[in-house]
């Protein structure tokens, strides 16, 4: 329990620190936000002054920070310069696409890494183990943006079996319920749309999943090797349980704990990878929006999105740590 309380007490200062940094990132940005917002519009200095006061930019930085935090807690991140709509609205529109892609990649990387890592451990030194080791080395060395382009060239351009970009084809749209197209299409009872959504999701999800699957596989393999050497596995085998049952029912269950922890830590690579993969595949999510916003100097949006990503990441790590503490009796003291 003490450990969980400790972590909870740490959570506050970290979240505050993260918020301070995000605030500073944009506040210290050279250039006048008012000028950027007005852009090419003709305006008098008085009009600019009014806008400046409206945006609270004439207040001292400390006051602006507290106002920023207060607004952020209410989900108010100001106006998106570019869209001339509230930032929160624009982000909410793009978020489901990013969540769908991230979840798909997470699921995929677990589906690849756990069986492969476990099998590699069981057949340690065999061809599968060596192939998996080489594969994971390639996985961490591949630049994701390039791998995505290779996949497009192979599956979309050469073979023509998967779409180049987007989330769903024309004429397959369904009413939005959750915003996750793979679920919405099923809710609408449109199997054809569901398959379309899945086909669009395949390549971006694979590209995002691969760099994460590599470390996960290594962790699963190492932890499975530890478990296989332990007394209870030897005992279970001695008791006459079939090897298959011992491996998959007893050993793997216990070997998965480190994998889950590392999975939570590695979601950072998924969240960051979003921006790259969404840019490569024209995926209409938050990641691509952030990249576009940098070039459009749409700072309020960048600020809100970076804060959202960072807070999500901190909370995910916190949850993983608590889950680990609760599940692992050796840590629970």
């Amino acid at each position: 329990m003490g450990r969980i309380i400790d972590r909870l007490l740490q959570l506050g200062p970290v979240l505050l620190g993260v918020t301070v940094i995000v605030f500073l990132m944009i506040t210290l940005t050279p250039g006048d936000p008012v000028e950027i917002m007005l852009g090419d519009m003709k305006s008098s200095p008085e009009q600019a002054e009014v806008l400046r006061r409206d945006m609270g930019l004439d207040r001292p930085p400390v006051e602006r920070f507290f106002r920023f935090v207060g607004n952020a807690l209410q989900g108010n991140f100001g106006l998106s310069f570019f869209h001339r709509r509230p930032v929160s609205e624009v982000i909410a529109e793009r978020l489901p696409a990013t969540i769908e892609l991230t979840l798909a990649a997470l699921l995929l990387s677990l589906l690849i890494s756990i069986p492969l890592g476990a099998l590699a451990a069981v057949h340690k030194g065999g061809w599968l183990d060596r192939t998996a080791t080489v594969g994971s080395l390639l996985g961490v060395s591949l630049p994701g943006f390039w791998f995505g382009i290779l996949l497009i060239m192979l599956f979309s351009v050469q073979l023509g079996v998967l779409p180049v970009s987007g989330r769903i084809g024309y004429g397959y749209e369904v009413p939005a319920v959750t915003g996750l197209l793979t679920i919405d299409t099923l809710l609408a009872g449109r199997l054809d749309s569901f398959l379309q959504a899945l086909r669009h999701l395949a390549l971006p999800a694979i590209t995002l999943a691969l760099p994460m699957a590599a470390p996960l596989m290594r962790v699963t393999r190492a932890s499975m090797l530890d478990v296989l050497r332990s007394d209870y596995v030897t005992f279970a085998e001695a008791k006459g349980l079939s090897r298959r049952r011992v491996l998959w029912r007893h050993a793997l269950k216990n070997a998965l704990m480190p994998t889950v922890t590392i999975a939570a830590l590695e979601t950072g690579s998924l969240l960051g990878g979003n921006m790259i993969v969404e840019s490569v595949f024209g995926w209409p999510g938050l990641g691509r929006l952030v990249v576009e916003s940098i070039f459009a100097r749409n700072y309020p949006l960048v600020q809100a999105a970076v804060l959202l990503y960072a807070v999500t990441y901190v909370l995910l790590n916190f949850i993983a740590d608590v889950a680990y503490t609760l599940l692992n009796p050796r840590v629970r003291l």
Partner: protein
């Protein structure tokens, strides 16, 4: 412990741990081969103006998207073909190595120095210094790497210097945590107590006593992180946040080729391949280093 004896009583060669580690590394042929690949690419980058057959920025629209030599329309003067502006891809590739390798090296070098200093201070002095440094580390760890980089780049604007500064601002956390942990352990050791007893000051102990003893894991981790930083730089360049045109970098070359995936696959393929080869070679070589120098990996 230069003249130690093992259990059987035979003398062990009087070599320093570093020399022993290096000898073990040389036995790992794959790792040595990869280290040579890295070295070759470094030399190529340093001597780029001499090795590159053409000026990397010389455009020739008559050679627009000219294919590599083994395809129809290719010629030996431009072995890997040309990009959309008719620039020689091989020359751009060789010059692009400079960006990847120099940014990677500079970032790791600065981040390691800062990380060592912060880690030593936090681990040895403890108290409020440790609290402040550890809190900053915790906060920086709260950002996914690319998100932090993007946020900071949004503020500073695109460019190679800013990429390097951004990456250093986040990367120093890695050596800092390692050094802090090792220092916490080392400050209780007898050799440190002995130094304290004869009146060596805290900075003398940190730099002359503790640092040499914890340096080898720090170097190993630095080489492992180098691969990571090179991919990050390439990713930022791919997004258009790194070096600005017309300077060649591998990440931006991959981005250049995206528009021509249909009819000129070579534009992005070779640049991506170059990143893969360099990063893979560094990864294998650094694993070899780790196995050779980390006592936990050899019995």
């Amino acid at each position: 412990m230069s003249a130690a004896t093992d259990v059987a009583g035979t003398a062990i060669a009087a070599r320093s741990p570093a020399a022993e580690g290096f000898a073990r590394f040389l036995e790992n042929r794959l790792a040595v081969a990869c280290a040579l690949v890295v070295l070759a690419m470094v030399l190529l980058a340093i001597g780029a103006p001499w090795f590159a057959p053409h000026d990397p920025n010389e455009t020739d629209l008559l050679r627009r998207l000219q294919p590599p030599v083994w395809l129809d329309g290719g010629e030996w003067a431009f072995p890997l073909g040309c990009d959309a502006l008719g620039r020689d891809l091989l020359s751009r590739l060789i010059h692009g190595a400079r960006v990847s390798i120099s940014v990677g090296t500079v970032v790791i070098l600065f981040a390691t120095v800062v990380g060592i200093a912060a880690g030593l201070l936090a681990g040895y002095l403890r108290g409020w210094v440790d609290t402040v440094i550890s809190r900053i580390v915790d906060i920086l760890l709260g950002f996914p790497y690319l998100i932090f980089a993007i946020g900071l780049m949004a503020m500073m604007g695109p460019g190679l210097h800013n990429v390097a500064i951004t990456l250093i601002a986040k990367e120093w956390v890695v050596p800092c945590r390692l050094v802090r942990g090792e220092t916490l352990a080392a400050r209780e050791m007898e050799y440190v107590e002995a130094a304290r007893a004869i009146g060596v000051g805290p900075f003398g102990i940190m730099i002359r006593e503790i640092l040499p003893n914890i340096l080898s894991p720090v170097i190993v981790v630095a080489t492992i992180r180098l691969a990571h930083v090179i991919i990050l730089e390439a990713s930022l360049s791919f997004l258009g946040l790194g070096v600005q045109p017309p300077i060649a970098s591998w990440g931006s070359m991959v981005a250049d080729g995206r528009e021509f995936m249909l009819d000129a696959w070579w534009v992005s393929t070779f640049a991506g391949l170059a990143i893969l080869v360099l990063v893979l070679a560094i990864n294998v070589a650094s694993q070899g280093l780790r196995d050779a120098f980390d006592p936990r990996f050899h019995d």
